[in-house]
């Protein structure tokens, strides 16, 4: 569920590519339902944030297990951040009726993403397995 060097035309494309990973992993059942929820939340206000991050997310009945898919992108994807494209994208999927402790893990991740050193560590890493391990380690702290 980690994509290194994502190439995407726009945020819908980027979100879809990441969501496909969640489907492949059995974490999201219906990709269209989930993507509609993500797009709807993006409409509220876009999730691109200064510093090259985007954190699209949604709670949906199509989500089986609280999950995150991550992409790094050298070209970047426009998620509406004020300072340009996002190079580090976290797609968060939460079930409609998620257990709170799992949601807490997602919250911990969102919290950590605000740490610049943590972001740089992820951005500079080329091995998807190491990225997954780094994220797991950090949210377990």
């Amino acid at each position: 569920m980690v994509i290194v060097g994502l190439e995407a035309t726009d945020k819908a494309d980027a979100t879809r590519q990441l969501a496909e990973r969640l489907v492949a992993a059995g974490r999201v059942t219906d990709i269209e339902t989930y993507l509609v929820a993500v797009a709807k939340r993006e409409e509220h206000f876009p999730t691109g944030i200064e510093g090259g991050i985007a954190i699209p997310h949604a709670q949906s009945e199509a989500v089986v297990i609280p999950s995150v898919a991550v992409a790094t992108s050298t070209t970047g994807v426009d998620f509406g951040a004020e300072d340009g494209k996002s190079n580090l994208i976290f797609l968060i999927a939460a079930p409609a009726n998620g257990g709170s402790e799992h949601l807490e893990i997602l919250g911990t991740l969102a919290y950590k993403v605000m740490d610049e050193d943590f972001r740089n560590e992820l951005l500079n890493e080329k091995d998807p397995a190491v990225i997954a391990a780094t994220l797991t380690r950090e949210v377990q702290k």
Binding site: A81, A110, T136
Partner: protein, 141 residues
Amino acid sequence: MKFVAVTACITGIAHTYMAQAALEQAAKKLGHEMVVETQGSAGTNPMKQEIIDAADGVIFAVDLGVKGRERFAGKPFVELGVAKVIGGDKGVNVLNDLIAAIEAGSAPLVAGSAPVAAKEEPKAEKPAGEKKKGFFGGLFG
């Protein structure tokens, strides 16, 4: 100075916690204290009334109503959308503006009357170990 904040976003999954991080970082940068109560999908971590009572100012970074707003009654405050504190120097600017308003005596005060004493002890946070036990291979499994 001492500040308290409440963060809450529509889905309660990501921005609530990103705003928490942003406000904590802003306070650290400016040499102030900041305690943040996150009102998210994973639940709320109500802060002790003593902490609120000792605060010089309050930041409500919320897209929803603040739960237990009366706890903050009488405190100088600023209220704005959760995204307004996330990214770049936004959190720092918001805090600086609040400090300036407090010093000028122009900050609005939270309406109502504060509770005399907290009758209920806030629910204790579960220890981190227990909280996360059994979750991984969770997010990346």
